[in-house]
């Protein structure tokens, strides 16, 4: 069964992803106090992978084209290739030196311009935030630039009669929201299990031609609105939190007795309930 939107073409879903250093391998440069990004293993920003999984699930159910979009250096191809291998149809990388140092304000602007250039979109999905900066600005920023309705912190998306229904995680429970298309949803980290790459997907990557590299000029992005100098965020200071020493206690001696003593202590401290 297919849902046809805006005439006789399949729905177009654009998923915005970022490539981030693998969470387990995060390293902070002791001098610059910024994240090391070169020479560390990378992955698709985990909430973005959850957003991609929602898009691919919609594609499984409806006729849909999934386009993956990212902005960054060409090393991001690795993540775009993975997205294709997982089942996305094609991808666009906005890559240009003048974008270097952009914070969330120019990023949301540049991505929204690129989305307009891709055109024909019905649904835009982003992760709720990135694991390397955790601002959560970019998704809502794109919706603002494109004047789209948005539903944030979403864990499930359904397409019903040409509208978007999404389950939103609120502080005191969950809410169901409905909106017309096109619209934008930001997706909760960990709300699903992103699928593995398929053989067919990996073959498509090997055959090539699945990533388009666009420069700012290709898209028509105003150079005066992007880059480090057009980014209002200032990182004034970064502190490393020192963990307070733990009040460790060793139980040693006879195994049976020390396990008994440990259990007694845990029960006494109400860590476990017998």
């Amino acid at each position: 069964m297919s849902v046809l939107v805006s005439g006789m073409r399949p729905m177009r879903i654009i998923v915005c992803i970022k490539q981030v250093p693998k969470a387990q391998e995060l390293q902070v440069d002791p001098v610059t106090q910024t994240l090391k990004r070169v020479g560390v293993p990378s992955e698709i920003n985990p909430p973005d992978a959850n957003a991609l999984e929602i898009a691919l699930t919609l594609k499984d159910r409806h006729a849909a084209e999934v386009v993956v979009l990212s902005m960054g250096p060409t090393s991001f191809d690795e993540s775009l290739e993975r997205a294709i291998a997982m089942g996305a149809d094609r991808s666009v990388l906005l890559t240009d030196r003048i974008l270097g140092g952009s914070d969330t304000v120019p990023t949301a602007y540049a991505l929204s311009e690129t989305i307009q250039k891709i055109g024909g979109y019905d649904l835009i999905l982003t992760g709720e935030e990135t694991t390397d900066a955790s601002t959560g600005h970019v998704g809502p920023g794109i919706a603002g630039h494109l004047a789209l309705p948005q539903i944030t912190y979403v864990s499930e998306v359904q397409i019903v009669d040409g509208t978007v229904r999404a389950r939103r995680t609120a502080e005191d429970g969950t809410e169901w929201w409905q909106t017309k298309m096109p619209s934008l949803c930001t997706v909760n980290f960990g709300c699903n299990k992103p699928r593995s790459p398929t053989l067919t997907g990996k073959i498509r990557v090997k055959r090539g031609g699945v990533i388009a590299h666009w420069s700012c000029a290709d898209v028509g992005i105003d150079p005066k609105k992007v880059g480090l100098f057009n980014s209002p965020t200032i990182v004034a200071k970064v502190d490393t939190i020192r963990l307070p020493p733990r009040a460790g206690r060793m139980f040693s001696g006879d195994a049976r007795e020390s396990v008994r003593a440990l259990l007694d202590a845990l029960i006494r401290d109400r860590v476990i309930v017998p």
Binding site: P197, L199, I203, K206
Partner: protein, 430 residues
């Protein structure tokens, strides 16, 4: 749906050789590997006989990741604390088509798979093929869970000893414990200089050892040791039937083997950096599956192409040659009009032309002979007792050599006639 002329499952020596040759012959070829990169899931003793590589890539020695060329062969019989060794030393061992070399699979397999890619094959890693796609009695491609499929006129199964697809395709029945051994291997790191000094080797020279007798605690099987550039491959192949019958863990056998003085002296001070284990098909030509079917061929370990005749362990050379033969069979079948079983039956002829089947059949009796327990327990002990008396001078008077041998042989628990038969059978099967 994606389609290829041929899909090869497994980027080990057999699979990469098949894919390389298929690509050269103009087949659009997909090579699928389960590991993150070729070789990371591969396991073998540690030595490769080079003749088949010679035929496939005449220039192989230029950039092949050779650890060391074997110039010294050793065969050692062990009892609990003594050893008797035969050593053959010759620079000829390391030269030309007859050379053999030690290697590490992660490097060697990656190199060979790259050659296949350079020839035009497409390599995809990190994907496990779950089943063959079969329809109307023929193989039409491969299936990957949950619902992915890729089509091909021919699937070459080069999946290794576990042979899950080969069995699923009905080409092979399930393995019996008596048909497989367990292989374990440790890679032990030592400095280059230490290895060269300790073994008396030159820069690219290597040594190979086969250990018999108490190496496997008297269980059927044996040990091996190969020198790499800056590590040693040390391992055992032991009958899984004996392990379960005598309720001994393979780790226990390996621990005792490692601590034997005749082994310990070589690995002393080394650091174990890798431990691996694998099934080893042991009945040679006796347990080979059907090697071809409608749209499918089987090559390498999956086909049981392994020779263990007691003094040489061969697998990688046969894997390479069988991969090439599979591609030749595919070419012949294409010329004959398609990948039907009847057209692919030429595989046998190509395997014979490359001496794969011929060698396997020649040593067909060896695995059975190697199943003779006396070989691993009684005879090594006997040899050692003879050696002990030969070389012991304590002033108590010494009989002549012939008398010692006769006396020791008579005192063993085996009738002389049986001993003679074992000897004859051994000579015939090896």
């Amino acid at each position: 749906m994606e389609r290829f002329d041929a899909i090869v499952v497994g980027a080990g020596p057999a699979g990469s050789s098949a894919a390389l040759t298929l690509a050269r012959k103009g087949f659009s070829t997909l090579l699928v590997e389960r590991g993150r990169s070729p070789g990371v899931k591969g396991m073998f003793g540690g030595r490769i006989y080079s003749w088949a590589l010679h035929d496939l890539l005449p220039d192989w020695a230029k950039d092949c990741p050779v650890e060391r060329f074997v110039v010294r062969e050793n065969l050692a019989f062990l009892t609990e604390d003594a050893s008797l060794a035969i050593s053959y030393d010759s620079p000829k061992l390391g030269q030309g088509r007859a050379s053999s070399f030690t290697a590490l699979r992660a490097k060697f397999d990656a190199w060979l798979a790259k050659k296949a890619q350079e020839a035009g094959a497409m390599l995809v890693t990190g994907i496990r093929v779950d089943d063959l796609w079969r329809e109307d009695g023929r193989v039409r491609g491969v299936l990957v869970a949950p619902k992915d499929r890729v089509g091909a006129d021919l699937v070459v199964i080069a999946e290794g000893a576990t042979s899950i697809l080969t069995r699923a395709a009905g080409l092979k029945r399930d393995l019996e414990p008596r048909e497989v051994s367990v292989g374990v291997k440790e890679t032990i790191e030592l400095p280059v200089e230490t290895i060269q000094e300790r073994f008396g080797l030159g820069e690219k020279e290597g040594a190979a050892f086969v250990f018999a007798g108490q190496a496997s605690l008297g269980l059927r099987g044996g040990g091996f040791l190969y020198t790499n550039q800056s590590s040693i491959s040390l391992g055992l192949v032991v009958s899984s039937e004996d392990l379960s019958r005598k309720k001994i863990e393979i780790q226990e056998v390996q621990n005792r083997f490692r601590l034997h003085p005749a082994v310990q002296r070589w690995i002393r001070g080394g650091k174990v950096v890798e431990y691996s284990a694998h099934l080893v098909p042991e009945l040679g030509a006796g347990m080979m599956p059907r090697l071809w079917g409608e749209g499918v061929l089987v090559a390498g370990d999956a086909a049981g192409f392994l020779i263990n005749n007691g003094y040489t362990f061969r697998g990688v050379d046969l894997a390479i040659a069988s991969g090439v033969a599979a591609a030749e069979a595919a070419e012949a079948a294409r010329a004959a009009g398609g990948m039907s079983a009847a057209n692919l039956a030429g595989y046998e002829k190509f395997l014979r032309a490359r001496n794969v089947l011929t060698d396997l059949e020649r040593f067909r009796r060896a695995p059975l002979y190697m199943k003779n327990e006396r070989l691993f327990d009684v005879y090594p002990r006997l040899l050692m007792e003879i050696a002990e008396r030969l070389y012991t001078v304590d002033g108590s008077g010494k009989p002549r050599l012939a008398d010692i041998i006769l006396e020791e042989a008579t005192s063993a628990d085996v009738p002389k006639l049986k001993m003679l038969l074992d000897l004859l059978q051994g000579a015939r099967s090896m």
